[in-house]
């Protein structure tokens, strides 16, 4: 009985996994092919290959529209957000996880409550706050905002992990004459590397892809991040479909390369981060 059922299930199973695969993969390929076509080819033959692999669209998107600058901005924003989250998150998490003091739980909850808030609902006050501080439309301002938004997640993950580090290690270090700072930097941080990797990946992807806050906070071209740059690229070239497709491909490639290089860690990181978050 079991065998019969399995025999029946097996083809379905392969249909499902390869079907879903071809949908996902096919979409990317189709956008890629479209990016080489002229509008006339796109309209007359949506599926066909382009007459020639014309890379004009790519050259235009890369050099005339500053896609490179958007890429760099996004890179700076994402890396700096990760680092700030590390610095701010790891210190407070160390204190919250390794010390017992009055208000510890309260503080922890204060951070955790941030996890349940749909972050996009904070756009208005963030906008006016950044404006008052003179940080609207600056790279620095957007880093601050992204850090604030990612802090609850960071603290939650780090506290959870640090609580699991055996106390003995720390005590041994203190007996050896280390102060708390040394314990933190020489014992706790090195031991937390796996969770730091997770946090880093989660925060990086979040900051790299964020769009809503960017639309509100950024207005000048030189500070645009990649998602925003791509969106405004689209609205200034609405009807040049091939060009937009090229922009999409350009925006995907850097993350795709990074992803392929680090996929093991990324997948593990996302999983453990999400499982704990």
């Amino acid at each position: 009985m079991g065998k019969v059922f399995s025999n029946f299930v097996s083809p379905l199973k392969y249909l499902f996994i390869w079907g879903y695969f071809s949908l996902t993969f096919g979409l990317f390929i189709w956008v890629l092919i479209t990016s080489f076509k002229s509008n006339r080819e796109i309209f007359s033959n949506p599926f066909g290959l382009p007459e020639s692999f014309n890379i004009d669209n790519y050259i235009f998107a890369l050099f005339d529209v500053n896609m490179v600058m958007y890429l760099l901005n996004s890179l700076i924003v994402a890396v700096a957000t990760v680092l700030l989250c590390f610095v701010l998150g790891s210190t407070v998490s160390y204190a919250l996880s390794r010390f017992e003091f009055k208000g510890n739980t309260f503080l922890y909850l204060l951070f955790i409550i941030g996890l349940t808030i749909p972050l996009q609902s904070l756009i208005y006050p963030m906008f006016f706050k950044m404006h008052t501080l003179g940080l609207r439309d600056t790279i620095f301002g957007i880093i601050i905002v992204y850090t604030a938004l990612n802090l609850p997640k960071t603290v939650f993950l780090l506290v959870g992990f640090m609580k699991g580090i055996p106390k003995e290690m720390e005590e041994a270090a203190i007996i050896d004459g280390c102060n708390y700072w040394n314990v933190f930097s020489k014992v706790v941080i090195p031991m937390s590397k796996p969770v730091l990797a997770t946090v880093g990946i989660l925060v990086f992807i979040a900051a790299w892809n964020e769009y809503i806050f960017a639309t509100v906070l950024i207005s000048s071209d030189v500070t645009k991040t990649l998602p925003l740059g791509l969106a405004s690229f689209q609205s200034s070239h609405l009807s040049e479909y091939g060009l937009i497709a090229a922009g999409v491909i350009i925006s995907i490639i850097p993350v795709l390369i990074a992803y392929i290089l680090f996929q093991e860690q990324i997948i593990k990181g996302m999983a453990s981060g999400a499982v704990k978050g």
């Binding site: 600056t138 620095f140 930097s185 609205s235 609405l238 009807s239």
Partner: protein, 434 residues
């Protein structure tokens, strides 16, 4: 590990430094301004594939070069993106010094709140401007006795057809609504989309049929809620709805951007195109021989040949720039440049756009489509302003677009449309003439 932390904090420091540098630049920039160089922050929407970009962008750059004592810091937000961009900057009390925008329909709130200054004195006392602008060009920026911007772009709605497709399928060129309906049916039968339209085109058609029976005074009295919409609007709404139901518009036209709808026309999938004249500059020049401008079909016997035309785009300065004498002078120079004869000539000759100015230009250099449009305007019995460009109060715009969409989608009947239009207009009457 320590080294790693040091390195990380080093990078962090560096990044913070970059961020702060961005800040410092703008601060020091302002400081320099107080010495002898005036800094103007400019926001405009003519960038990327916008047809006006080839004239507008060089004009700003040229101005920057011509004036050693003025430095322009130019920001762009393409097409309609400028709406939100300007709103955001206004809300942040950080308006650009000079910006391009539509007329009162989108600046009313700024005018009411005193963030755009009345520049009528400046206009009057400046002899350079005498007789420069067409009659009525200031209409959309005249608000309760004040004038708030300089016009640089005109508009007219035009109907363009692809002659080859009409000939190929043996369809007669329509002159009235009944003939148009027949043509629409003939084209849908052969698998063509009659109109390369989006929801804007459909709305323009509705407005045109309505206006064919009105005078400027009539149009005003409706917009100010002195008179209620009635039979005329109902008939126009019925026609637009009927066309939508006949399949005259492309699938998904509600989500099409105007530039995208033009691509359907270029792809020869549609024989007709009814649009705002800013699109003329985007028309594919290779196919010009097949294209022709025809008068918009008359609604019925009482209708008169009408073209909806006027001025649509203006350049403004902000109250903040106005308050600073140096900036005011610099901003005024820039505004005069953009709303001046050189740009106007460029608009007509280079990018085939209507202008708001009386300028001389060489007809030889003008795009044949624009020439035909200008002829069509000359031949029309009346030129009337379009409601949505000029006459509706700002608050009406936001509600009347989705309401017309609802009509076209069949969510509401033409009668409900008329009633709700009356509600909207009586709630937000046009008060610019008070």
């Amino acid at each position: 590990m320590k080294r790693m932390i040091q390195m990380l904090s080093g990078i962090l420091f560096f990044v913070v430094l970059i961020g702060c540098q961005g800040l410092n630049e703008s601060e020091t920039g302002e400081k320099e301004g107080s010495d002898d160089i005036v800094n103007l922050r400019v926001l405009h929407s003519f960038t990327g594939s916008q047809p006006q970009a080839p004239v507008m962008e060089p004009a700003f750059e040229e101005f920057d070069e011509e004036h050693g004592d003025i430095e322009l810091n130019i920001q762009t937000a393409a097409g309609n993106d400028i709406l939100e961009q300007l709103r955001t900057e206004m809300a942040a009390e950080d308006p650009p010094d000079v910006f391009t925008h539509w007329g009162m329909r989108r600046t009313e709130n700024y005018i009411k709140n005193g963030v755009i200054p009345d520049i009528s004195d400046m206009i009057e006392s400046d002899q350079d401007l005498d007789g420069l602008y067409m009659d009525g060009a200031f209409g959309p920026v005249t608000y309760q006795g004040g004038i708030y911007g300089l016009p640089f772009q005109g508009y007219s709605y035009y109907l363009m057809i692809n002659k080859d497709l009409f000939e190929e399928h043996g369809v007669d060129i329509p002159t009235n609504y009944e003939e148009l309906k027949k043509a629409v049916i003939q084209f849908t039968d052969v698998g063509l989309i009659p109109f390369a339209a989006n929801n804007h085109s459909a709305r323009y058609m509705l407005l045109t049929w309505f206006a064919q029976k009105q005078t400027t005074e009539d149009l005003r009295s409706y917009a100010t809620a002195e008179q209620e919409f009635g039979e005329d609007l109902l008939l126009a709404a019925e026609k637009a709805l009927e066309l939508a139901e006949l399949g005259a518009f492309p699938e998904g036209y509600m989500n099409l951007e105007t530039a995208q709808s033009l691509e359907i026309f270029h792809a020869e999938q549609a024989p007709m195109f009814y649009q705002h004249s800013w699109t003329v500059g985007s028309i594919d020049e290779e196919l010009l021989d097949s294209y022709e401008i025809i008068p918009f079909p008359l609604g019925d016997e009482q209708s008169e040949p009408t073209v909806l035309a006027g001025t649509g785009h203006f350049i403004y300065m902000s109250q903040r720039a106005y308050d600073d004498p140096d900036k005011r002078e610099a901003a005024w120079k820039l505004m005069k440049k953009i709303a001046g004869p050189d740009v106007a000539k460029g608009f007509v000759e280079d990018i085939a756009n209507n202008t708001a100015l009386n300028v001389e230009y060489d007809e030889e250099n003008v795009n044949p489509i624009l020439n035909q449009i200008l002829d069509d305007m000359d031949n029309a019995e009346k030129l009337l302003p379009s409601y949505e460009e000029e006459l509706f109060a700002s608050a009406v715009e936001g509600e009347y677009w989705p309401l017309t969409d609802a009509l076209l989608l069949g969510d509401i009947t033409p009668q409900e449309y008329v009633d709700q239009m009356n509600d909207i207009v009586s709630e937000h009457p046009n008060v610019q003439f008070e």
